[in-house]
Each structure stands twice: as structure tokens, then as C-alpha cells.
Symmetry: C3
């Protein structure tokens, strides 16, 4: 299985690097170790000591350096071995590959591809757990499934009415499967927007509202959603275009699907409420719903993966109107893979 | 691995379809979903939504229909999609394959092969949990083993003296490994019969008895056994032929081995006592022995499978007199597979 | 994966054969069953009944014989079937392969190769749990790792300073990674010796000592170590050669790495203290440290195996001075394998 290499991947929440030790994460099949230097900046190296291929994630942080705790080799933040126990000086060329890494919006982003192409300006704007405009809470789930089954899921929210009937779906009066969104290609992904007319606000001021739901869905599987609610009638007053009124409630969703390897993925998610509307109790209550709903997705998608595994290649799948965004996104993945393959062979 | 396709397979006990939702079962590698229509009749469809290949067994029964709870497609009992959420009408050709299915003798029988050949008259007579002649109790076990290791087991009961020494074997005074049965080919299987002379009746009137044990063992692995006990001397009086006297005790065993897939099987079993001889307490006591004995088989056969897995192909196995019925039955499987293979290629 | 066949392998501790039943062990991919005859001598047969390939390790010991508890075949200690239930006499040629086996130094040694070459004189001298010179205690660990990752580990003790920092390493003041050992080829392995100067004795008389650590590391992975402690200055007085003084404390380590199969190994270990210095309480305390340390190895080496599994073939590994003994030992394995391969093809 091949993955896009020249891309920023979300490796972890910043909060996962709060402890005293390094952490190991596998991104597109590459074992990587992440740790903080003494000034707090994050370093990403291959999680493989160049000596005997022990995992550096079982190592120890010493100032800005990382020591392999098998035979004690010490690596600087550039991945170069600077000390070999029992030797007066470290031999040249003993180096763990370093990956470009950026901490931004409470995520650790890593670039598995050509470091010369790793431009931090390509990292999209997200919300961030520490953003004063929002109160947010984060979580993560491991998936025994191909990451594209998750991107299918997140680019077609019609499933909210069914998979999440009692959590995110019918309970709110929204009809995600009936109210078709607009889908627009944007750089590296899709912009998906829709009005949900006269649904019930389960939080905030309560009562009924027109809600405008807008999200960017970006490679490899970033889901960055803003939901703003308005008094009923606002959608019509805006001609069902983008709202230009003052919202009465606001929500944010910051999610990333990261391919771990073949049929292994990780799903990092946070939910937030505009801080002017929210209390911590409201956020806890929202997070409980989100956790329940994402367990529903997990059960469905892992079961779907098992069906795919038991299905002969070439078995057709029906293409329906709701598959437009999943199809476009899979096509985008294919184009990027083909592009990288061409560049390698030229 | 290949399986006979044109055959009735036992998918489940009727009682497994007593709940409110559909159930998923894999039969010869085919994921299938089973549910009851409003009139109680059972429907079997492929457990794979033709849209995105989600499992329909995670779906919801709505009257006679089944709704996929991923994206909400609704399927009639013919497997044809009749509703796509967000579309005015369902597109043609979106269909989950329907399998012929029959509920009989408390089992759900399914036909994975050519539906035109699925004749319910080919379903053999079993006992049924609701048969007033018997009090019966059922159970099931999953096996990490090829189903033919189970058919070997059930066609050669000489193992009762050893594997089941303290449960079904020596404890009863029967000498299954010494008293050779008669083995007769019948349509789709074998008829295996023997007298067990002067053994002790552990239930019923007690004391000593001559018992006549007679079972049909039919493709793919149906075990349908009748045991009748008589006063000592009856076997001789009948010239060791089939008994024509009035029994003093009667038992029934209704069992099915169903191949789930490669090295995966399911074993469905029930034990019964003639209702004129039995109390529920007697049945419970018998079922406890059966459960203990079948755990002994499970341990032995799964361990045997692991030895087969670790054994180079071509390693010889000794052929002994007790292997006659297992051999004949494996040969029958091979002939059926060859027949189906010939039909496919002609 | 191929293994040396003509070699004595440690299958088990003698104490593992203290129960009433046979035990099953897989050695270099070969399932074997071990049991004691009535006089206590150990028999090793293939753990595969020649009839239906059921495991004999689920069988029953009857005097000097072993009965398969699937269909009741009885095997003599030569592996020849002497009884088939239901047959007047056992047919010729129904035989479970017998392996040469020797019980010595509290280990059960088995020879998977050509029995004609199995010379018990090739079994190296170890200590033995029942040796009056030592008080010893044994344990065992299963490894999901290639056995050569364990031989690498045991031939380079520089890792004690890091992997075992708080158990066997720095806590004792020894500098295993700084004090380079002498490494000498011996028959079937290496002799590895070093002085640890002026380290602290954590047991025995306490205080500081010069310790002489000497171990043979023999195919396939035997670790037989003697550690003797002397008053500080003894190393210098001996010219840093082998000690000829009276020790003030003594320890023994008796360990074996046994390949179970591909990426599966078993590690059998015992630690001992010279009985003139030791109490059972001292031994228990030492064993607690050993168990903790070997759990550290287990965690590191299984993680290392997973990194190797995720690493493309041909990825280089740095060769450092501490790799000399691991390298020599792997080379020795390769030469033996090549030799056996030549003998097979000639």
C-alpha cells in the first residue's frame, strides 16, 4: 500500500508530549519518535536506533538529546549520534533520520517526505486547544481500518442520521441525509457547506435555529468544521448563501485522520464551543456525545473493513449522489499518489 | 480453500433469531445477514450493503425490510434497495444478494449455491427443539479448526473412550472403541449403527441395558442420532440387528458442523431425552455432561489443527480400521467438490 | 527460516516435568512431547500422533508408555505404537519419531538432528539447581522475537548500564559499557571475561570489591556465567588476568535461549549464589532483581523485533566495538548452518 509522502501529517496532540519521555508513533508505516527539547520545541526522528534498530521511543531525553536505552548511544536533535558508550568519540555517519516537524494549533505535524519540500506555510489553519475564542477538549481513537474508510465517512455526513441516530443525528432534528451540501474543491481538499433549517439547538440558548455548517476537508484527512446557529429564518434571509448575521451559538470540530499503516489508522479529534456561549459543564456534556458517536463510527467502520477484507476484488459498489465528496477526495488522493510516483520515476 | 456450494447449511438455531435485530453469520466464507419479517419468516441476504459494503447485520429491521445503518439504504426482503435517503427514488440494480433460507427443526438452513437448485425437500429430518416427543436443550461452540477435523471426530466415536473418558466414555461402561459399528452409505452421507451391550444407563430407569445407537451423518456435517435402550439380552434376541422391541429409554442428538471459512467452524448442538422418560432436571444434568464433553473435543481438535498447521505437507498419517467412516465422508466431500468444479468448467 | 539441527537444545527445566502429565514444547519449529518413564528417565517424541496428528502432549502417561487421548493409541518409549484400540494388534510402522534426550544440570536437553550424531558428551557443563555448591532459583520467559536478538543481547553486556540501569547496571557501580571484556573463541561459542574494578557488592559481605565476570556463551544460546568477588586491588595484583585468589562472594547464572520457531523464542534462566555465602532470603532478593531485569530485556527486545519487522531489508546498521561478540556469535551460527546445508546437499 502506498501513501502520499510529501504532506504534513498530524502525529499527535501537543498534550501527548506533556510527559517526561519520548513517544513513538507510526505514520504511513514509518516508526517515528517525538520528544521535546529543553526549550519545548519538538523533535521527530526515525524510531530506530541506527546501531541495532532498537526503538528510540524507549529511550531517555537528556537535555536536548535523546539516548537509546538499549546500548546507550546519544543522539542530538539533528539525529546525529554524538556519544557511543565505551568509545572515545562517536563514529561518523551514525544517524537517525530527522523529520521536519511543527507544533501548531495543538497538533504535532510531521512531514515524512522530502525535507526540502516541507513548507510550514502549507499547514492549514485549525483552532487549537489553547485558542481563547473556544473552549475545547480532545480525544483519540485507534482504528483497525484503512484511513480512506474514515475519509469516506467524514466527507459524507449523511450517515449522521443513521449511524448516529441517537447522538448526532435525528436527536437534533437535523436531516443530514436530506439537506444536500455544496461541495467545492479547494487547495488540497474540499469545502463542504450546508444550511440545516429550523433544527433544535441541543445546547446554548436552546430552542430552534437555522445552522450553517461549513468544513474544510483536507489531505490526508483533516476535518475542520465551524457551525454557527442563527434565529430561524436566517437561512432564507441570506438566500441560503453564506450567513452574514450575528450567530447565537458556535461550535468547532478539529479532527485528523492519520494513516498508521496498512489497514491501521488513528483518529484525533477535538470538539469546541465558542467561549462566549460555553461553560466547562456544557463542553463536558458535548464531549460525552462526541465520544459516544465516535465509538459508533468505530464499530461500523471496523466492521466495514472486515467486510471489505472478505469481499473479492472487483465486486461492484453502487455510486450514489451522497458519494460525490468521498469520490472527489479519493480521486484527489490518487492524483497526489500518481504525481509522486511520476516524480520518483523521472 | 473450496467448499460445496449447492448444499443446505445450518446457519443458526431458530432461537438465535429471537431478538429484535438481524444477526450476521459467515457460512463457507460468505458473510450473510439473517432477520425475521413481520410474519416471522426468515430472510437471508449477503451481509454487505451494495453501496459501501457496510455490514447489514449492523442494520435495523423495519417491518419486512432491513435498513443499513451506515447511510440508511432500505432493502426489501428480496434484497432490492427500495429507498436511498436524499434521493427521490432508489436507482435500479442496487441489490443485496438473497439466499434461499428455510427454518425447519429449529434450525435456520441456508443455501449458498445456485438458488434454482435449492430444494427444501433435500433438508433432512431432524428432531427440533419444539418436538413434543423430546425435551431438548441447545448450545453452540466456535472452532478455530477446519470443519473436516470435526467431521472426522463425529464419524468415529471410538474417541469417546479416551477424549471423553470421564464424561461420555468409560463412565457409562460403553466401549465405543471396541464395539465396531456398521457403516452404510446413504444419500448425502453415512448411516452408522451399533449395539452397546450391557452398559449402564446413567439416566432414566438406571441399571444395565443393551443400547442401540444409530445416527445419520450427512453433508456438510449433520449428526442426527437416536439412542434407544432395552433390557439386557435384547441385542442378542434381535440377532444384533436393528431392534424391534419397546425401548426403556431414548435419547436424541441434533448437531451440525458448519464451515465458517478457512480453519474456522461453528458447531451447533442439542441433546434431548424422550419426553416420556425425562424431567427438565434430567435434561439439565445431561446438558452439563454434553457441554463438558464438547469442551474436551474443542480443546483436542483446536490443538490438532495447530499440529496440522506445523506439519509439512505430505507427512503421512496412519490409516486404521476406525478411519473408515471419516475416510468415506471426506471422500464424499471430495466427490461433491469435484462435481461442482466440473459443472463450473463445462 | 532455518535452524541448526545437529545441536543440543534446552527444552525445559527438569522441574517442568515434575507433574503427572506430559508437556509439549516446540523446538526449532518441531512440536515435541516430553514425559518421564516410571524410572524417571525422560522421553522425547514428536508431539504428533502418527494416526490423525493429534498432539501427544494432551495424552496420558501409562507406566513407561504414552497414550494419545484422542483415539487411544499407545506408544512405547521408542515411539512405536504398541496398541490400537479395537484392533487385535497394532499395525507395523505406526511410529512417533523419537528424539535423543538427556537430563543434565537440571535441564532437559533434546537433539532435533541426526540421532547418530547425538553425543551427550557434547552437552556443556552447567551448574544445576541441585548442585550443593550453589543455592539457585529458576524461571522462564516466552519471547515474540528471533532468538538471535537474544544472543545479541547476551553476548554484549554493555546494555546493562542502560536497559538495566536501576536493576543490574549503574545501581551496582559497575560500568559494563566502559570496561571492555576479553572475547575468546572456544568450541561452539565464546568465552567472555572482564574485571569490574572497585564496584559495590550489593549482596554478600557488602562494601567494595573487584569482581571477575566470566561466561561461556555457547550454541544455540547458552549463557553460563561465574562471577567471583575479591577485595579491591585484587585485579591489579593479578595483573588484570584471571584471578588466583580466594573469593569473598560468588554468583552463578545458568541461562538458555531456545528458538521455538520463526520470531518465537523461550528464555530459561536461573540465578545462584555460592552456598557458603547465601541464605534463601538473599536468593529470593536476587531473583526479584533478575526477574525485573529480564522483564526490561523482554520489553526492549520484543519492541526491537517490531522495529526490525517494519524495517526494509538492506537498511544498514552501524557496527560498533561492542558488537564484536554478537557479530562473532552470529557468524558462528551462519557457519554451522552452511555446514549443515553442505552436508545435506552432498
Amino acid at each position: 500500500m502506498s501513501f502520499i509522502r510529501n504532506l504534513w501529517y498530524v502525529a499527535a496532540w501537543s498534550t501527548e508530549l506533556a510527559g517526561t519521555g519520548p513517544i513513538g508513533r507510526t505514520i504511513i508505516g514509518e516508526p517515528m519518535v517525538f520528544y521535546r527539547q529543553s526549550d519545548g520545541t519538538v523533535i521527530a526522528l526515525e524510531d530506530r536506533c541506527p546501531h541495532r534498530h532498537a526503538p528510540l521511543s524507549l529511550g531517555r531525553i537528556e537535555g536536548d538529546d535523546l539516548r537509546c536505552m538499549y546500548h546507550g548511544l546519544l543522539f542530538g536533535p539533528d539525529g546525529v549520534c554524538k556519544q557511543v558508550p565505551g568509545s572515545l568519540e562517536a563514529p561518523a555517519g551514525v544517524t537517525a533520520r530527522r523529520f521536519p516537524v511543527v507544533e501548531r494549533h495543538s497538533w504535532i505535524w510531521v512531514w515524512p517526505g522530502d525535507p526540502a519540500l516541507a513548507d510550514p506555510a502549507m499547514i492549514p489553519q485549525a483552532f487549537g486547544l489553547d485558542n481563547p475564542d473556544w473552549v475545547m477538549k480532545e480525544g483519540a481513537l485507534d482504528y483497525a481500518a484503512d484511513y480512506r474508510l474514515l475519509t469516506d465517512n467524514l466527507t459524507d455526513l449523511s450517515h449522521l442520521d443513521f449511524t448516529h441516530e441517537t447522538t448526532l443525528g435525528a436527536a437534533t432534528g437535523a436531516r443530514w441525509s436530506e439537506d444536500h451540501p455544496s461541495i467545492s474543491p479547494i487547495e488540497g481538499g474540499l469545502l463542504i457547506e450546508r444550511w440545516l433549517i429550523n433544527n433544535s439547538l441541543t445546547q446554548g440558548p436552546g430552542g430552534r435555529a437555522d445552522s450553517f455548517s461549513s468544513y474544510r476537508f483536507l489531505l490526508p484527512g483533516l476535518f475542520l468544521m465551524n457551525t454557527t446557529a442563527y434565529p430561524p429564518g436566517t437561512a432564507a434571509a441570506c438566500g441560503y448563501g453564506r450567513p452574514n448575521a450575528e450567530p447565537i451559538f458556535e461550535r468547532a470540530e478539529q479532527q485528523a485522520v492519520t494513516p498508521v499503516g496498512d489497514k491501521r489508522s488513528r483518529y484525533l479529534y477535538a470538539t469546541g464551543i465558542g467561549s462566549r456561549y460555553a461553560s466547562m459543564a456544557m463542553l463536558e456534556s458535548r464531549m460525552a456525545v462526541i465520544n459516544a458517536a465516535f465509538a459508533e463510527d468505530n464499530r461500523m467502520i471496523e466492521a466495514q473493513q472486515r467486510v471489505w477484507d472478505a469481499t473479492p476484488a472487483g465486486t461492484p459498489r453502487a455510486f450514489l449522489p451522497q458519494d460525490k465528496a468521498p469520490y472527489l477526495f479519493r480521486h484527489l488522493i490518487e492524483r497526489r499518489l500518481a504525481l509522486e510516483s511520476d516524480q520518483l520515476s523521472s
